[in-house]
């Protein structure tokens, strides 16, 4: 496999994980515009553990995911008090607070960034990406996913039939933060250099964009979105300079004609039947 395709595939895998982190939180009805913050936390923790503490990458990623997950839970509790755009604004603020913290974090380079990580293979990135994707898809067939759908739809009614909305919403924040941290750790070891600017508002927007375009009601939508965001500019070379504008326009068009995004349950069922016929 050429370097070129390996690079593209790695980008897709990392974006897929980042998008899944948004998807998991969105499934409970909470839109986060700050997941780049969790990515940044994961990237810096993983890099410190491999470079300074000499741990193997897999161990480092697991530790980073756990720490970030705990931070996600800590963010999730106050987030319960906020809904809709207020939650979006608060998470946007969280992302900026993390980026700003990293800028001041002199021990790991501050604005100069941090390096020394060993490059990881595309296969390694995709092992993580596929594992997490499959895990999320399995959970989508589980009882807890029904609870998640119930909480997203009508939190009060869900509580009155015995569902613990707090546990579900905070848990989703924790899981989303953990997955974002894995994406961040892989990002750091793919690019072997990180700086606070890698985890800015624009990164958070990319993650949300992938989910909204690919499909916000099924996990495979994150995959479709990640593929679209990375591949389309490669094939539409004439768009090179205008690809962001194209994505912005695509986002608006998608919201206008197909709010749930490219993939949804009905389309997947249709495709599944078609493939068996």
């Amino acid at each position: 496999m050429s370097m070129y395709y390996a690079g593209i595939l790695s980008d897709i895998g990392i974006l897929l994980l980042g998008a899944l982190s948004v998807y998991i939180i969105l499934a409970t009805g909470q839109l986060s515009l700050g997941n780049a913050g969790f990515m940044g936390i994961g990237a810096y923790i993983t890099s410190w553990l491999t470079v300074e503490a000499g741990l193997p990458i897999t161990v480092a990623l697991v530790i980073a995911a756990l720490v970030s997950g705990a931070i996600g839970v800590a963010v999730g509790f106050p987030a319960l008090r906020l809904k809709g755009i207020y939650l979006a604004m608060a998470t946007l603020g969280f992302g900026e607070v993390v980026r700003s913290f990293l800028l001041n974090f002199a021990a790991m380079g501050g604005p100069e960034g941090f390096h020394g990580m060993h490059h990881i293979s595309t296969g390694y990135i995709w092992t993580w990406a596929v594992s997490v994707l499959v895990l999320v898809m399995l959970i989508e067939a589980s009882p807890i996913w029904l609870e998640i759908r119930a909480v997203r739809d009508d939190e009060t009614a869900a509580g009155l039939v015995g569902l613990n909305a707090t546990e579900i919403k905070v848990g989703a924040f924790g899981c989303g933060a953990a997955v974002a941290a894995i994406a961040g750790g892989l990002f750091a070891h793919h690019h072997v250099y990180i700086e606070p600017g890698n985890f800015s508002f624009e990164r958070s927007v990319d993650l949300v964009l992938a989910v909204i375009l690919g499909g916000s009601t099924v996990a495979s939508g994150a995959l479709a979105g990640a593929v679209m965001l990375v591949i389309l500019p490669e094939y539409l070379r004439f768009l090179a300079e205008w690809r962001f504008a194209a994505f912005g326009a695509l986002l608006i068009a998608m919201l206008l004609v197909r709010r749930q995004g490219l993939l949804d349950r009905a389309l997947l069922r249709f495709a599944w039947r078609g493939s068996r016929a």
Partner: protein
């Protein structure tokens, strides 16, 4: 604190009443206050822009950050054509208002019945487009004014204020006063307040809600555009990324002032401007976003009505 230089440990006993604040410290402090007020004026305008749409329609128009940037470029185009500053200001405002109208028609109208997050995402789409367009049209390097639009400084006591700062401050006061007059005294203002209170009732009373929505977006856009021109001439430079760097932070200013009362920005704007400038001067430039966004999160969680809001009940006072 001004007295504590680098390396001097800051302890409680350090604040001895006998230690005099030097003339130089006082001078720097006042100078910083003026700089903070100037930045605060720009924040005030953008925050008003955000909260006008938020107050009337309950929607966060994320494209405002880029309308601000765009307004700056429109103004620069006029200035580079050797036309005077007032023309540039009008051009920046009108240009941004026109783009805001497009955002309203495509990015807001079709989503009126949708959950409030949906129009926020569509305006995010517009902000992505606008930033990309600006980058392609004017380049990603800062665009600079070859010579100062206005030179000269005025000395007021120990501090000096530049002509540009004076322009920024007075134009802001003028715009805020006009907006206040428009909202409080005119029929358009009455209609805006009616829609803010209850869109359906307003329609029943004969208010053309669709047109009022468009006007709210355009007014909001013109304020953002003006802010863009002002910050552009203040720094004598502009980049396509100023929307994300400065414009987004105005969301924090709006929240701190109180999302349910648009006039809260009048206090929050100067306050944040001063806090930011002081933080840069005495703590370090890297920490300022931490302070501003951290403050926003605290306000959202602890005082959703804003720093000065009196409670949740004052819906009718939103605009």
């Amino acid at each position: 604190m001004p007295g504590a230089g680098p390396g001097v440990p800051k302890t409680r006993s350090n604040a001895t009443p006998t230690s005099p604040i030097s003339f130089w410290d006082a001078f720097v402090l006042i100078q910083q206050l003026v700089n903070g007020l100037t930045l605060g004026a720009v924040y005030t305008l953008i925050a008003l822009s955000f909260s006008l749409v938020m107050g009337v329609l309950g929607v966060l128009n994320l494209a405002i950050a880029e309308l601000f940037m765009l307004g700056g470029y429109f103004g620069f185009a006029i200035l580079l054509a050797r036309l005077p500053l007032p023309v540039a200001l009008v051009a920046g405002m009108a240009g941004a208002a026109l783009v805001a109208a497009i955002v309203e028609r495509i990015g807001y109208q079709p989503f009126r019945g949708a959950p409030v997050v949906t129009p926020m995402l569509s305006t995010l789409g517009f902000s992505i487009i606008l930033q990309n367009v600006a980058t392609n049209v004017w380049g990603s390097d800062p665009l600079q004014l070859s010579d100062e639009v206005l030179s000269g400084r005025f000395n007021i006591g120990p501090a000096s204020i530049s002509a540009i700062q004076l322009v920024v401050l007075s134009v802001t006061v003028l715009l805020v006063a006009s907006l206040a007059f428009l909202v409080q005294q005119t029929s358009i203002g009455r209609a805006l307040r009616a829609v803010a209170e209850n869109r359906d009732v307003a329609r029943l009373l004969g208010v053309p809600a669709g047109r009022i929505t468009l006007i709210a977006f355009m007014l909001s856009g013109s304020l953002a555009g003006a802010a863009g021109v002002l910050i552009g001439v203040h720094y004598a430079a502009i980049t396509p990324y100023i929307g994300v760097e400065v414009g987004l932070k105005a969301i924090a200013v709006m929240v701190i002032g109180g999302t349910t009362r648009i006039w809260g920005s009048l206090i929050a704007g100067p306050l944040i401007g001063i806090v930011e400038v002081m933080t840069v001067a005495y703590v370090g430039s890297q920490i300022r976003d931490f302070v501003v966004y951290g403050l926003m999160i605290l306000i959202l969680l602890l005082r959703p009505q804003g720093l000065l809001g009196s409670g949740r009940g004052d819906q009718s006072q939103r605009v």
